[in-house]
């Protein structure tokens, strides 16, 4: 077990280095410093302007040296300053984190709760009309573009019916009223694929021999469902939740933009609009690191919970 955890920790090293390498390649080889400078300074920039841009951003050094500087900066979380607002990027990340979390955490767990409830319900009535229509509804839900959910939701529920404020954000508890609508839209858009996933998880368990035994023993369906099936289904559920955590931190690009929530998603979108390479790079890297860590946590948790895991 400890050997497994140690090996899993050691695997972090090549992956983190790989992430550094890919972000570096993206911004230094796939696109050149000159191209970036032109995009930042506009087509009419003079040669001197471009050269001074290259110099201040370290593009004049050889590739290998640049890679190590880049590596050191990323690993020490020294992302520099935004090229547009000139704020420190770490401060921006810190400030943007809270609005993103305030939107995503409740929305995510609410969706989780609803999805698992529906999945358990349909599993109870599996192979009936109810179950089949739920599956069809899931596929229908998955086929609507996220953007359509957002635009139509905002227009109908916010603009026309005025149930919720159309857009806005404030710090403090009053933020609640601004978050309900985007939260509900998040739920509506993710419900299809989530229900399908959890339904398969539950069905996998239902078809196991131990469930048949429990039924043969005469246990009530509710006891079987909640004490036996749900307990075993927790393993894939927890794994999925843990792996999803970094996305809660990153926020939602589209939701935050439409509902005026000043989170990391909106920040990323602004950076794209303003050609803010430093911010894009920082967000990509942070997202990747969080994902790697969440995966690590997921794997270790999985190994701890499930005695069947082989420590290969």
């Amino acid at each position: 077990m400890s050997a497994y955890i140690i090996r899993r920790l050691l695997y972090l090293v090549p992956t983190v280095l790989g992430v550094c390498l890919i972000t570096f390649l993206l911004f230094n080889v796939v696109t050149t410093g000159e191209a970036i400078a032109k995009q930042r300074l506009g087509q009419h920039a003079t040669q001197e302007q471009i050269e001074s841009y290259l110099k201040t951003h370290g593009y004049d050094k050889p590739l290998l040296i640049r890679f190590f500087i880049n590596l050191k900066d990323l690993l020490t979380f020294n992302f520099g300053r935004s090229e547009v607002t000139h704020q420190k990027i770490t401060t921006m990340l810190w400030n943007g984190m809270w609005p993103s979390l305030s939107l995503m955490v409740p929305a995510f767990f609410f969706t989780l709760f609803v999805a698992i409830s529906i999945a358990l319900f349909t599993a109870l009535y599996r192979n009936t009309f109810l179950d089949r229509s739920t599956v069809v509804l899931c596929i229908i839900g998955m086929s609507v573009p996220f953007l359509a959910y957002i635009i139509l939701g905002q227009y109908i529920l916010g603009y026309k019916l005025k149930y919720f404020p159309v857009t806005g954000y404030e710090w403090g508890l009053g933020v609640f009223k601004f978050l309900i609508l985007p939260g509900l839209i998040y739920t509506a858009a993710s419900l299809g694929s989530d229900v399908r996933f959890y339904r398969t998880v539950v069905l996998d368990e239902i078809n196991q021999d131990y469930v048949r035994t429990a039924r043969a023993k005469g246990l009530s369906p509710n006891t079987i469902l909640f004490k036996h099936i749900l307990k075993n289904a927790m393993i894939p559920i927890i794994t999925r939740v843990v792996v999803a955590l970094p996305f809660l931190y990153m926020g939602s690009l589209l939701l935050e933009d439409f509902y005026g929530i000043p989170g990391l998603g909106a920040m990323a979108l602004n950076a794209i609009d303003g050609n803010d390479f430093a911010v894009i790079k920082a967000i990509t890297f942070i997202g990747a690191i969080l994902y790697v860590l969440a995966n690590l946590a997921g794997d270790i948790l999985y190994a701890l919970v499930d005695p069947r895991v082989e420590f290969k």
Partner: protein, 312 residues
Amino acid sequence: MNMEPGLQNPTMETSQEQPARSLWSDALHRLKKNRLAVFSFFIILIYLIVAVLCGAGLLATNYDEQSYKIDEKGNISLNSYSPPSFKNPLGTDIQGRDVLSRVLQGSWISLRVALTMSAIYIFIAVLLGAFAGYFGGFIDDIIQWLYQTLASIPGLLMLIALTFVLGKGLTNVAVALGLVGWVGLCRLMRAEYLKHKARDYVLAAKAQGAGPFRIMFKHIFPNTFHIVIISFSLGFVHAIMGEVVLTFVGLGAKAHEPSWGRIISEARAELAREPAVWWPLLSATVAMFIVCLAFNILGDALRDSLDPKLKE
């Protein structure tokens, strides 16, 4: 498959040559029983025909023509935002262009994006998956490291960063989707090759003197091809949805291109008008929805009939 003693005569009783029935035709036979899947297949067929006709300049050629109207005073102005009518069944957009034609042209754009993406990601996934699974060892380590690293970078951010550096535009969006999208299929292919390379039929081919490439692509690949088909079908949905998001973010279709993402992105401002202009948004969303739904259903049905084990 039959082991009844009656059938074990050296030569079968049937004397005339029977048409060969491959596993493919068996699967097709099973698929035909699923009426919803057959229906989806025809929807997709219509979509493909419409898209190709649009691309060939035979259908919806007036998508870029502005139309004008004359008011009571005899002034000529752009026929902006005319609601659905006999002349324009789905209304017109801001420049008086026919929305129906633009939505139909959108199918050609989505097909181009999806095919470009699929060609890239399937090529990478199959090649790397085959090498990793078949050769194992060091090659496997490198390829696994590559896709684990890539999978660590959140998909949307990776897409954005990639399109950002490749440059904006539909082709680059498709290329970025392809370069990011191969990890899932590659994992599946690797597992399949790992499984198949130990099968006796592969050893037999080796004993016959077949080289590694012949074994990988002539012997093993046909046995994994159904996975590619399933992935291709479900990948279409990703391509169509991906185009919408990336276009909205400002990295995809340019202002004059009639892509579905473009039409939906513009709807945000159009809905805010008084009276609201809802027809472009609804037309594009419904078109996308129908195509995505058909691909989702067909992909699921293919998965069930070609590889029951893959059901997640």
